[in-house]
């Protein structure tokens, strides 16, 4: 257990340079190139004097390196600063307003993708080499190639317009918004036993998470398939058959379990893909999450918020991969950190 703690410590320590590298990249690129939040927000009409004043307020008149050091100094204390536009709210509050939406979307898409991915991957892996396998492989490539906005729009057209059974945008009907507890509407509405909200939230989630989920399921199809084939080619599966174990037991207890382990190790990186895909999904479905938020703040050059968001993304990705590693260590007896 002590070494597990050491492992976590190592991982956390290694996250720091990662965030630093990304932040530094973004910090300097953003500030060296033209545009700044003051100009973007005051619009066209403000006087130069007023702009200068605001720039001073935001510390944008200081030398770049000093701004950088100031920012890092605050960051070390866990302070992401305040947004530079629209109310100058704390960046962390802004992020927390949008993050639950993204989290809800990504988790649901993840579930969709993993269910479809495992099912198709298993079918392909078991029927290796045949027509079914080939079609599953084609499915995996096609699914991954489905350009998210395009695919999303097709689903909107089919389910939102032609069949008119599902909403094509937004997270929930505003009047049905559940009491804010976690910010995840599904959980909040369950906690408050508000089933109307739950149904509504799920309806809103359906198309976006299907879009993202199906696209990413292609990756899992591929991973599960090759991993399963790999496992099935191993001696111990043959040994299991030689002992006369039941087919289902070989497939699930021995085969799938072993096959999922390498997939688990890749899950951390897959999550990054999920987050990236979420940006396009959010834009297509007007989903009020981190992606749309980041796009907007980049346009307005809200330096602190953009930096904060990038740092947050990095931290989140690191956290997910840490959790994945811990689960990995838990399920695989060979790994003991």
């Amino acid at each position: 257990m002590a070494s597990l703690k050491a492992y976590i410590a190592t991982r956390v320590v290694l996250t720091v340079p990662m965030i630093l590298i990304l932040l530094t990249l973004v910090f300097f690129v953003m500030r060296v190139l033209p545009g700044n939040p003051v100009i973007a927000i005051v619009g066209m009409k403000a006087s130069p004097k007023y702009i200068a004043e605001l720039e001073h307020q935001l510390g944008l008149d200081k030398p770049l390196w000093q701004q950088y050091l100031d920012y890092l100094g605050k960051l070390i204390q866990g302070d992401l600063g305040t947004s530079m536009i629209w109310g100058r709210r704390p960046v962390i509050a802004e992020i927390m307003d949008h993050f639950p939406a993204t989290l809800e979307l990504t988790i649901c898409s993840f579930i969709v993708s993993i269910i479809i991915g495992i099912a198709t991957g298993m079918i392909a892996g078991v029927k290796k080499g045949g027509k079914v396998d080939f079609s599953m492989r084609v499915y995996s490539i096609v699914a991954y190639s489905l350009f998210i906005p395009w695919f999303g729009m097709m689903l909107q057209l089919i389910f939102g317009v032609w069949l008119n059974v599902l909403p094509v945008g937004g997270r929930i009907d505003p009047l049905l918004e559940p009491k804010h507890i976690t910010g995840l509407y599904i959980i909040d509405s369950i906690l408050t036993l508000n089933f109307k909200s739950l149904v509504n939230a799920l309806e809103h989630l359906a198309l976006p998470s299907l879009t993202l989920g199906i696209v990413l399921s292609g990756i899992y199809t591929r991973l599960v398939r090759s991993s399963l084939i790999e496992v099935f080619s191993q001696d111990f599966i043959r040994a299991c058959r030689a002992r006369g174990l039941k087919t289902s037991s070989i497939l699930f207890r021995h085969g799938l379990k072993n096959a999922l382990i390498p997939i688990l190790t890749m899950m951390g990186l897959q999550f990054a893909l999920l987050l990236a895909g979420a940006v396009l999904t959010e834009t297509t479905f007007s989903w009020p999450g981190m992606g749309t938020f980041l796009m907007e703040r980049i346009e307005y050059r809200d330096f602190t918020t953009v930096q904060g968001t990038i740092a947050f993304y990095a931290l989140f990705v690191a956290l997910v991969s840490l959790v994945v590693d811990l689960i990995y260590a838990y399920v695989d007896p060979r790994i003991r950190y």
């Binding site: 190139l33 700044n36 066209m44 945008g169 307005y300 050059r301």
Partner: protein
């Protein structure tokens, strides 16, 4: 036999709640900071100032005042406030409150503070319900400015005295009060029980925020919202018009779009070049193709429908006048083999996703002369503004929403030396300056009309800025919705809107 009286028409029943969808967003729920249409629209429903516009017109009427006087040749304004003004929580509103609110704007010095700081010298309370505003110099259109939310009274105990309060829901003395605000998601208004005037027709108004026009439209069709307000796509408007159960309302807009030439950057310092490009411009094709007729071509900076407007550019150049353009270009020394090279800039999202098409059509129109070669470039809003201000962009596309309803707002900031620095456009002409300054203080309306006419003629001749089109307002609603009033102010007055239920 007495004829039986016709059965009395059943009294229409009105819905308690109306949901309005928009793609706009709220910036700051604080009049000292907010400087955008949609937030002002909300202010106009939850607050009220000394003046307001009569719905459906650009005529001013009294708001929270019972009377006012203009003194010292337009320099001093004495306002008499109503005595029955109350904020949404029941606390009273009087001259002191208004003074505090105006001074707070100056103190915070936010984006719209210039409405106060540039104009007002001082504010004095004469008695509990009388306020005296002294201007720095006479201003013929000050009542129009007093209709701006920056001059709306707010409760001092709810707003910090010298800090912006962005998510404040305290409101003012308007017909509604804010009961809930979740940024970028929803705003819920409820009739203000303390409002002095006629109570609103609908008790609860919910505003839902959408990311884009398509979802907005779908939300209306699916019944999620009753009214789809700013801003629907032209195609959607056209197709909604034919949809049963949906009604499309159309009204004049005061939003204008135009091309800005940086008169310092060669070859645009050459008037002939600017004139040639102005002549070649094909406004109809933009209005018809990109906007499907949902905007009107504009031939002056002062919009159609505002007093003083003349079609100055049309008179001078006509429309898509290639012969004239070619002739001017030749005069300027260009030819088919020595083409005029133009770098045309646009910003991709600030003016909606139609902008790329607008730029493409301008390019096409100009290149039709055979003597122009246009390179289209684009930059994100912040960069675009920054580069413009620094005077680095030669030809840019911009748009303008008025601050107040007066031709002054459509001319002075564009053409007056120094005032147009924000465009990076150093157009400066003493004669033009003189006319503009005169028009600002001239109290006589007919003289002002003449002045603005000359200004427009000169503008068309110099062509530092070339107007393209003027927006129209569209609202799509369920056909049970009534009471929507559209005017160039471009504000929706929620308190007039109702929705019938049953029949």
């Amino acid at each position: 036999q007495k004829p039986t009286p016709p059965p009395a028409p059943p009294t229409p029943k009105y819905a308690d709640t109306i949901t309005i969808g928009t793609t706009d967003k709220i910036s700051d729920l604080d009049p000292a900071m907010a400087y955008d249409f949609f937030t002002w629209e909300v202010f106009n429903n939850v607050m009220e100032g000394p003046f307001k516009y009569k719905p459906g017109t650009t005529d001013l009427e009294k708001g929270i005042i019972t009377d006012y006087q203009v003194q010292e040749g337009g320099k001093v304004y004495i306002l008499k406030l109503r005595t029955d003004l109350k904020f949404a929580d029941g606390s009273p509103c009087n001259a002191n409150t208004l003074k505090w609110s105006i001074e707070r704007v100056a103190r915070i010095n936010g984006d719209p503070a210039w409405f106060v700081t540039d104009l007002v010298d001082k504010v004095d309370v004469l008695d509990n319900y009388t306020l005296k505003i002294t201007l720095k110099s006479p201003l013929s259109f000050f009542p129009a400015i007093l209709a701006v939310p920056t001059y709306f009274p707010i409760p001092p105990d709810k707003y910090p005295a010298d800090k912006v309060s962005s998510d404040n829901t305290a409101g003012g003395v308007g017909p509604y009060r804010i009961v809930k605000f979740v940024r970028d998601q929803q705003l819920v208004l409820e009739a203000n029980p303390y409002y002095y005037g006629t109570p609103p027709k609908t008790k609860t108004v919910v505003i839902k925020f959408y990311k884009d026009a398509t979802t907005l439209r779908l939300a209306l069709e699916s019944g999620e919202i009753d009214i789809a307000w700013k801003t629907l796509n032209p195609t959607d408007i056209n197709s909604l018009k034919t949809k049963p159960g949906i009604k499309v309302w159309e009204g004049p807009g005061s939003f204008i779009r135009y091309i800005v030439f940086n008169t310092k950057i060669p070859p645009f310092d050459n008037k002939l070049v600017r004139q040639a490009l102005a002549a070649a411009l094909d406004r109809n094709s933009i209005a018809q193709k990109v906007f499907l007729g949902t905007v009107d071509p504009l031939y002056s900076l002062i919009p159609n429908g505002m007093w003083g407007h003349i079609d100055a550019f049309k008179d001078k150049y006509g429309e898509a006048n290639l012969d004239l353009a070619k002739q001017l270009l030749r005069q300027a020394g260009y030819s088919e083999s020595n083409k005029l090279k133009v770098e045309l800039w646009y910003t991709p999202s600030h003016y909606g996703d139609t902008e790329a098409d607008v730029a493409a059509l301008i390019k096409e129109a100009w290149e039709k002369t055979g003597m122009v070669e246009v390179t289209v470039k684009s930059a994100e809003w912040s960069t675009y503004l920054d580069l413009t201000r620094k005077g680095q962009l030669a030809v840019t596309l911009y748009g303008w929403y008025p601050d107040y309803m007066d031709p002054d707002d459509y001319t002075f900031p564009f053409l007056h030396t120094g005032s147009n620095r924000w465009l990076g456009n150093p157009y400066s002409d003493p004669e033009m300056d003189k006319m503009l300054e005169q028009a600002e203080v001239e109290p006589d309306q007919s003289k002002r009309v003449d002045l603005y006419k000359n200004i427009q003629i000169k503008l068309a001749d110099d062509a530092p800025i070339v107007p393209i089109f003027q927006g129209k307002l569209y609202v799509a609603s369920k056909d049970t919705v009534g009471g929507i009033v559209l005017d160039p102010l471009m504000l929706l007055r929620y308190y007039l809107i109702y929705k019938q239920v049953g029949s």
